[in-house]
Assembly symmetry: D3
Homo-oligomer: 320 residues x 6
Amino acid sequence: MAHKFINQIEPGETIDDIYIVRDPILRSTTRGDLYIAMFLSDRSGQLNGRMWQATETIYKALPKPGFIHIQGRSELYQNNLQIIINNISVVDASEVHIDDFLARTDKDTKQMFEEVKKIVSRIENPQLKTLVEEFLADRELMEKFCDVPGGMKLHHSYIGGLLEHTHNMLRVAVAILPLFPQVQTDLVLAGIFLHDIGKTEELSYDMAFSYTDSGQLIGHVVKSILMINQKVDTLRAKSTQIEETVMDALGHIILSHHGQYEFGSPKLPATAEAFMVYYIDDLDAKISQVTVAIENEQSDSNWTAWKSALQTRLYKKRIE
Amino acid sequence: MAHKFINQIEPGETIDDIYIVRDPILRSTTRGDLYIAMFLSDRSGQLNGRMWQATETIYKALPKPGFIHIQGRSELYQNNLQIIINNISVVDASEVHIDDFLARTDKDTKQMFEEVKKIVSRIENPQLKTLVEEFLADRELMEKFCDVPGGMKLHHSYIGGLLEHTHNMLRVAVAILPLFPQVQTDLVLAGIFLHDIGKTEELSYDMAFSYTDSGQLIGHVVKSILMINQKVDTLRAKSTQIEETVMDALGHIILSHHGQYEFGSPKLPATAEAFMVYYIDDLDAKISQVTVAIENEQSDSNWTAWKSALQTRLYKKRIE
Amino acid sequence: MAHKFINQIEPGETIDDIYIVRDPILRSTTRGDLYIAMFLSDRSGQLNGRMWQATETIYKALPKPGFIHIQGRSELYQNNLQIIINNISVVDASEVHIDDFLARTDKDTKQMFEEVKKIVSRIENPQLKTLVEEFLADRELMEKFCDVPGGMKLHHSYIGGLLEHTHNMLRVAVAILPLFPQVQTDLVLAGIFLHDIGKTEELSYDMAFSYTDSGQLIGHVVKSILMINQKVDTLRAKSTQIEETVMDALGHIILSHHGQYEFGSPKLPATAEAFMVYYIDDLDAKISQVTVAIENEQSDSNWTAWKSALQTRLYKKRIE
Amino acid sequence: MAHKFINQIEPGETIDDIYIVRDPILRSTTRGDLYIAMFLSDRSGQLNGRMWQATETIYKALPKPGFIHIQGRSELYQNNLQIIINNISVVDASEVHIDDFLARTDKDTKQMFEEVKKIVSRIENPQLKTLVEEFLADRELMEKFCDVPGGMKLHHSYIGGLLEHTHNMLRVAVAILPLFPQVQTDLVLAGIFLHDIGKTEELSYDMAFSYTDSGQLIGHVVKSILMINQKVDTLRAKSTQIEETVMDALGHIILSHHGQYEFGSPKLPATAEAFMVYYIDDLDAKISQVTVAIENEQSDSNWTAWKSALQTRLYKKRIE
Amino acid sequence: MAHKFINQIEPGETIDDIYIVRDPILRSTTRGDLYIAMFLSDRSGQLNGRMWQATETIYKALPKPGFIHIQGRSELYQNNLQIIINNISVVDASEVHIDDFLARTDKDTKQMFEEVKKIVSRIENPQLKTLVEEFLADRELMEKFCDVPGGMKLHHSYIGGLLEHTHNMLRVAVAILPLFPQVQTDLVLAGIFLHDIGKTEELSYDMAFSYTDSGQLIGHVVKSILMINQKVDTLRAKSTQIEETVMDALGHIILSHHGQYEFGSPKLPATAEAFMVYYIDDLDAKISQVTVAIENEQSDSNWTAWKSALQTRLYKKRIE
Amino acid sequence: MAHKFINQIEPGETIDDIYIVRDPILRSTTRGDLYIAMFLSDRSGQLNGRMWQATETIYKALPKPGFIHIQGRSELYQNNLQIIINNISVVDASEVHIDDFLARTDKDTKQMFEEVKKIVSRIENPQLKTLVEEFLADRELMEKFCDVPGGMKLHHSYIGGLLEHTHNMLRVAVAILPLFPQVQTDLVLAGIFLHDIGKTEELSYDMAFSYTDSGQLIGHVVKSILMINQKVDTLRAKSTQIEETVMDALGHIILSHHGQYEFGSPKLPATAEAFMVYYIDDLDAKISQVTVAIENEQSDSNWTAWKSALQTRLYKKRIE
């Protein structure tokens, strides 16, 4: 049976489906009865849930957060939809269809990854070629690379987001590199492919998106560098040397791709290749951010809400 | 007879040619004789000049700056080349081959302008199309547009620099717009074509590059807006209306294309099109700046001098 | 019948008057009955309104926002006054006395405008004189100039605010110009008169204060410049030339009057006149802002709430 | 005999007058002869001086810096005027006419001080009145107040500069206070009178302008506060109490009159009076700075050199 | 009878004790009955209180804020504990045991103060020694010094906090001064002892922590300087001179100990001693801040909430 | 024969010794003779050298820079000492006593390193202990660690500087850790020991101090992380696991020890240990910087020159 998505529930429906429960709280009514307030979510959104006549036993059994199967009905309360729950049972993660719960790129992941591979196969420098192939050959890592979101909030924050972002950046690079003949193609392509690879370790995304401890303490910029060095060590163990000058030029692109110290770049761009990766990254991120913001705010106004990361509201009206 | 370029003069040559004189100073030697120290330049560079046995009359007759015909010889003094002048005569600007004196793009101006016209002819929105055509029909302005430098110092600071910069930006836009289907092509193309049009009034470049008074007081960003409005008024006088929404969307791109308040943008980008023009502008400018800096510093070091505008030195070594 | 102002309603009164309704929401009580929660406002303030036994039809008919005639009574709920509504009917804007709804300067608009005219009539430079008179002769614009608020939030944010602000700035200028004999009086007076003229196009104020689309995309600083250029074009069509040096000096004052890039000035002040207009503007704005903040916070504390625009709380106690 | 001012010396004159010597250096010519290079200055400017056939004894006897009587002649060397010295004798400071050596306001100090006294006599609040009179009665301090420069470099950097600046600020305040009826006149007048009083201890100006050690370690802002508190203590010893609320309101004006933390204000303005003193101070300083810069740069250009404190060049041309 | 601390109350207990009442509000139930909502607090925390069947008379008699004796019972409401009050009587501050109400250092105040005295007794410079002893002899001030909190919010914000902070800073100084032999011990010790002494006048802490008016207008940095100068004046009256060089070196440490202009330092550190006091202050403050934040957030997460003063979340997990 | 140090040469001495030659320039005198101007240096300082009657052959043979043996004499020229060279021969680096040429800590390197080892031997956490021992066992690296300067310019910029800085930081940590019982000693000690270990790869110091290419592209912060990870990999190859939580906590200290983004920290401190290492690092650096600046400026003034890195001049006078 198809999952009933949160954003498709109408008032007065009977609900019998699996959702993620978050932040359940045991409360007592003014009359002294216990009830549980909670949030129910899937990838389409989130609603309030209420289970009246609850017990502390039920409350304690709830995962915080986790998957639960609920039976109940939807109703309108103070103009907001909520779900009144009659029965709750805990569900194991292995039993759910994860795509119902995590937002996911609407592009074809497989096809994007094929194109990524095809584009980086243009790399001619033998050392960068070897290094990139070593990454591509790491099947477990590449699976993560295709799954991990591009970020927590600002842009590409959905399953497959990093791939989509990297894929589009590579396509932009391929389109404009002929216009900048002095820029070293191989470095730009390898730099884009690996610029955020550390996000596979910075972010966790099993049920919801969050930072790993390691991700918060170290950050994806340095994680990316560490992962590249690990691959170089592996190659060295196989008697394939990557020269330090190649490593440094590539590493510099990664370390400077946020472009400014205040965005956590430990280095400022000092090569044409580093500038190019920085601008392509920022361009793709900002266009995505603007597009999503405009799509998500369906009000009558010509303007979105204030976007503090951009220090402006965004204009939604098109000229035609 | 071909002009002898400053950067091709060897020690011990006889010099009989036209150069720009700058900052001449009348000095007396320890023995009391008067001489004139000056700078001599053409588009290829600048040297010290010395005229011994000078008089106050000669000094007063010199343009400050201006063109002079000199006769003399080159010599090495303290490891630097200088020119010892025997005769000086003032030359009218009309008699000189201006290309010998102003740095000029090494690209084909005519061909670039043809491509610019071809690219903006893709604009389909009738109002933007009309507006752009009104600019293209302004022959005098288009001549300036093809001549004016892209800036005073940082990038494209040579005759034809604005055209070269605009041309490359348009090519980048054409290359990447298909990858961002939500971005309005017509606004981006018109925005790029006109983003720095005000530089035709901000900069003067008859003999040397400098700011006009008006350019310094008003700035090219606002000048560009004023010029667009002037064209709209002209069109209105011909009964062709450009709607305010089109004008505002285009004007916003111009006003926000420096991206940050501290770079003199009175508005921050609030549309996808404004972000795109901002990034393409900055990308093309920075790549050009890095390329020129690396080309111009022919030392053995792998690094250029410190670039305060970029807050870093630039790395010159390539990976192959 | 005189309008019953929001801030004069006492608990237990019968209400039968016109107010602006904003953000109405249809809700259901715990028993399932529908009611409408809304805000009711006029120029003196805002209250909560509740209409019990509402229907979706009534809700849908409500303007969002707009004028409504309500019948009901006031009551105290949780120490806050609210209005219980029995009947609602929509009212056309043409039927209301707009002064009841928009905050308005408590100064005499007509008299202030006469004084403004008198002060700018001191301008002796024939070109600036002509230009200013062209503005004064634009009756429709001058009406807007007398009506438009000085800003959205920080200072003079009421009908007639721009006039009051401009008027006071001119009076300050007249008072201090004799103390700065090197400063060009005509430029300062014309600069003040026109410094925010673009706000007539940036702000809308029919029922409530808001930014126009064009205002947000272009901003009042550049709008002011454009309006001045339009007038110059009109004069030119009448064969009256305004020289570029005059235009640039005046334009520079407008473009730099926010004083710092981060406040959206595309230029920094580069003349004594530009500095003077900048300081007079900021002085009048800040004194107004402090005065209003202190007047509006009638608590027992010697301090207002934190003012983030000023990065401090304000001290209310006077020394006597 | 009238002093021969540095900026009035022509080439070929016989010199027999007193100047300040600075930075004398003993050098040897290529032939091994010793000579002394030095700077000679008075309030009108500075020239190079050379004493050929010098000895180490003469060199050691020179004050560094100090007053010397020289005999010699002026000559042109490399287009610059210099003075060739034949005889040097050291002169005691008591023997010189100090006005020849320190730049001095061209306004009438006595008259300005009388006007300052007259303006502050308007103060009605008995405590502020008493406090201000206690300062006025401190004859030694008032003499310094009339002498001390307004600053080291940026504005009013000449003898009598602080008085001139304070005087003009008071006149501005008197002119505009009637336009801001909510602002407490007494606090503004007392605040302006005392806002930079600490400069009498921060700066030394016996022969040249410099910071005192104490001035650099503590700064004039805090020095001013300390001097006010000292006066309050003196008054208290005479059984005249100044209430803490008056002291705090006045002290706050002093401590916040630089307006921003980065200019060394330990507090941001939190009262209308503090804002007014801050703006009047900044307005008078900037207008003075612009005027002096324009007067001092007599080149043909319409623009001064770059002013890093203002982050712009200044425009010198007037509109007629 | 021992005070029943807020954080030790369990649901269902009978309450008969003194608490601080804050922000009481008179509300009416939907049925029209009046009740009073309020906050009840002591040093251990805060709870909601409700008095049903209240009257306006009772409400008006309540201190806002102040001490009240209540009788009632605790109950769980919506998972939060609240207190239902049956009787209220106002209590005079003199009758309460103040330690029950103000958070207080858990260190031994007396012992810390003894150690402070012992450490500063190491000062050998006779003038600093005399000055410090003059402070120690001011019994009333020393009592405040032992009581005042170290700040309002960020660190050591409890009774005795300034003493605890000063004490720990002195111990750090004693521990590290031998490692920096070039640093003048006496200045560092006196500087630390007095660096925040002005907080005794900046903060009030009778029942709750708040800024005094004077504290907000002048700030503790300048207050500290003023207090030191007062002591110097007192000593001078007793014929004991403190030289200006000593005063300036000490004053500079106080004025620069926030280290940066944007934190309200009117001077930047210019001596080794000033740098040392700045770093020891900041180190002790930040470690305390981190420790308290981690202790106070007992959630399961490895991370605290976002700390805007530190621009990060804090990591709670230890490595063992 | 002992080296004659640059700062010990008196005028009129015969010179016959090895120095570093830098920036030699071939110049011609006014009479047309060729001479070579150059700088001569050793660890104690630098002087001008002149070789008259030079030839282009001699000039071309000179290393730029490198070691040369010169014969000549010292003389005073324009109050500055210079060396007149009669003979020059190039010297191989292997023949020089390197200590004569590179500034070197005046502390005992061996003893400091022993103390470092002793202090880090306090680490009890078995994983950190193993990791630190792995570093200590890397003899080649430890030699570099004892040699590398602490930085290029600001502080500890001499051979052995990093060791001296690390050693003093460890001593500070040992002294103050008992005062902060909540801080994890092992992390702080290991963090300090390794915080700048990457400088061994960032800086080169064979004859002069400079950045390596890799150092400039990657930076010592990230280099340190990479070196730690390399050691962890080596340990893993020996079947010794370092857990990720330990690595992350240590890595975070390294990555955040510059304290602020603008100083190139890719992470802000988020643990008490990270704050402690940051403050101890900055304290030791600043005290060293101030001390060196004051020692190096032996002028009569009480103040050093302006220090742009500290945004102040430094006060040199002591209170005794």
